[in-house]
Symmetry: C2
Subunit: 407 residues, 2 copies
């Protein structure tokens, strides 16, 4: 059998290397000769920077380390292929390299933009009558890919966010009679899935965030003020979870808000902070309370030490399914996750046409957001809870997680 190449593209996640592990393992089982990894995605591929994964995954220990190492083992890129009808030089180069290395199947692990790459390569391949197949394996913490119930990477980010939210709440409530507002800023420009995951902190021993704002509902500063005021009347500490991408009805993001001296220091200077910071300054000014802004930043997408086992296994399975389809001769597809049932949670892997996926975004449906637009509904909890179940324990050395690193 011939060779396979696999690449990782777009932003990292805690389980993206599980998808890589799934591609490698299944390709080997199916008899692939070489499984090449491309350094830094298609960008490195164009420079023929291919590594033979056999060299890095010689034993079980390496393989297990790969599975518990966050962020793209092979490196990543943000490279957009031109439209081949306009310029096909880069396509010719790609197919030359594919031929040179006798590659039959090309797997790309990534999100919307990476699926755009798969779509274009598959279409071009069909146009020139190539037998090389192109299949995508889904990856994004944002959970915003179409045609799949959810996306590998989301469950682990959601577990990190839920765990951190719960711990922050324990921290927040230690003092009595000290009114305060904490605003936690979570990733998500257009889709609120990650921010919604803060609600998974709720349970017998945690009330969760008091207010949750997603970009799917227009943000209104007067409503926000009223929401916070109401909660400050009944408890000392308010925790607000916001997506970085929340915006007003006219599309203005929070750090761009100017009206009503929203965020000015004592010299009248406008603040330059992020969403959480600006909302904190607003609350300080309006309520005279202590505030704290928290940004979960890149930690939410690389916190593999608290990765979801469910997520890791689904990442592995979808990588495996992608390469299996490609070696079967299918092209222009992405592996998808299909929820067969929720209780018990059963999820299978399928395939969907990548044309329906690339350059589209799946948002949190209105039914998963409460009427007031300041919290999620039980429908969201039922959807998301199974995805954070189980732990993928890191391999520890010298008190910290070990990682598999390429160079």
């Amino acid at each position: 059998m011939a060779n396979v190449v696999v690449g990782q593209s777009g932003g990292p996640s805690s389980v993206i290397n599980n998808s890589l592990a799934g591609v490698y393992k299944r390709a080997k089982i199916l008899g692939a000769d070489k499984v090449y990894g491309m350094r830094y995605g298609i960008q490195g591929f164009l420079e023929e920077r291919l590594v033979d994964l056999d060299e890095y995954l010689k034993d079980d220990r390496s393989f297990n380390l790969l599975r518990t190492t966050p962020s793209s083992f092979l490196g990543s890129c943000r490279y957009k292929l031109p439209d081949f009808e306009i310029s096909d030089a880069v396509y010719k180069r790609i197919f030359q390299i594919l031929a040179k290395y006798q590659i039959e199947a090309f797997i790309y692990i990534g999100g919307n933009d990476s699926m755009d790459t798969i779509r274009k390569l598959a279409d071009y391949g069909q146009k020139i009558g190539s037998s090389v197949t192109f299949v995508g394996a889904p990856k994004t913490i944002d959970d915003d890919l179409m045609e799949t119930d959810h996306t590998p990477g989301y469950g682990s980010a959601a577990k990190y966010i839920a765990t951190t939210t719960k711990e922050v709440i324990r921290d927040m409530v230690v003092y009595e009679h000290k009114p305060s507002v904490f605003v936690m800023e979570i990733m998500g420009r257009n889709a609120g899935w990650l921010t919604a995951a803060s609600a998974l902190s709720r349970g017998d021993n945690c009330v969760g965030p008091d207010l949750i704002y997603l970009p799917e509902v227009n943000f209104d500063l007067a409503n926000f003020r009223a929401d916070v005021e109401k909660i400050l009347k009944r408890k000392d500490c308010v925790l607000v979870a916001v997506s970085e991408g929340i915006h007003t009805a006219d599309g203005t993001f929070i750090p761009e808000l100017q009206g009503a001296d929203l965020a000015v220091d004592s010299f009248g200077h406008k603040a330059m902070g992020g969403t959480a910071e600006v909302l904190c300054k607003f609350c300080e000014k309006e309520f005279g309370v202590k505030t704290r802004s928290l940004e979960l930043s890149v930690m939410q997408r690389c916190g593999a030490h608290i990765a979801s086992r469910t997520d890791a296994e689904e990442a592995f399975a979808s990588g495996a399914a992608a390469v299996e389809a490609a070696l079967r001769g299918q092209t222009g597809l992405m592996a998808t996750l299909v929820r067969e049932s929720n209780d018990p949670y059963v999820c299978s892997v399928s395939l969907a046409d990548v044309h329906k996926i690339s350059n589209a975004e799946r948002k949190v449906p209105r039914s998963m957001i409460n009427e007031a637009g300041n919290d999620v509904t039980d429908e969201f909890i039922s959807y998301a809870r199974p995805l954070i179940m189980g732990e993928l324990q890191p391999i520890m050395k010298d008190g910290i997680p070990e990682h598999l690193v390429l160079d």
Copy 2:
């Protein structure tokens, strides 16, 4: 035997409840009748808000949950007792309550300020000839208490910081040829122990932060610029770890720096961010690179899901030692940790006069900081490594850690 009361004071940590568990367990073994917990430290004690810990720690599960729950189970306060030579009303009230509840031993878990409370109460008790004993159990993530090799709470915060640093570095290096500077801001106003812990991320598969700045060495912006420039010449991504408390020779903190248009937006407005944010803006301006500021914020002190087992056990042991001393009739002391040997790491518990501890701070010695003042030395690594060893696994439910919560 008579009763014991225990309180928690000051900022939270991931293992402060291990100290509480140690006090409770040893007091019971030594035959104490009631072990009362005071809600919200001495402030709650003054309102007679005492809980009988037997009611909350009925079984092994509750006890184990207490040990894996971050932040003060009993609540905390920041309450400074007046000097009793000036005003002794509050002392009279305290000793009335002690008598009413037949309390023989008073244990306070906390940092410098809490030890000031122990010192004053012990001194007052001796002055009035009371038999009640007052002993402190050390707690602070800052590791800045005198008379002890290190402080319970530090090891877990250090483990969180080292783990997060390593994961962030994996995240940072995924793209090639995209020069960037990440600045990670870590707690520590006057002592750099926590920031130094970012260096524990170093090992076979992680280079660790490129630059580390502690408040023990005066910060110089020109030197910082030269340091970053030098590293940007040889690698794409620079990770800088800074203590929130770094300052220039004249005592100016970074967010207060004004000179040389340090941090201005395109409208000429001064930034209002924290230390990391201001240094990021500086690097953007000086080097034209992408930057990202990361604040580990309260997460570093409540991230119990990655607590150090060594730290948790030492917290337990020091709580136990404190109550044992108090029940033996000793007063005005704090339990301390004594490093017997480093390889193998052996640590015992002792006691020290609280007068030598209260209101003093232990800083990182110059020998643990490199000559250039932009990194730590091996001496620091040898000191800190044993403190982050082992994991205290959280008890998981519904995909997130369970906590024991009082109300």
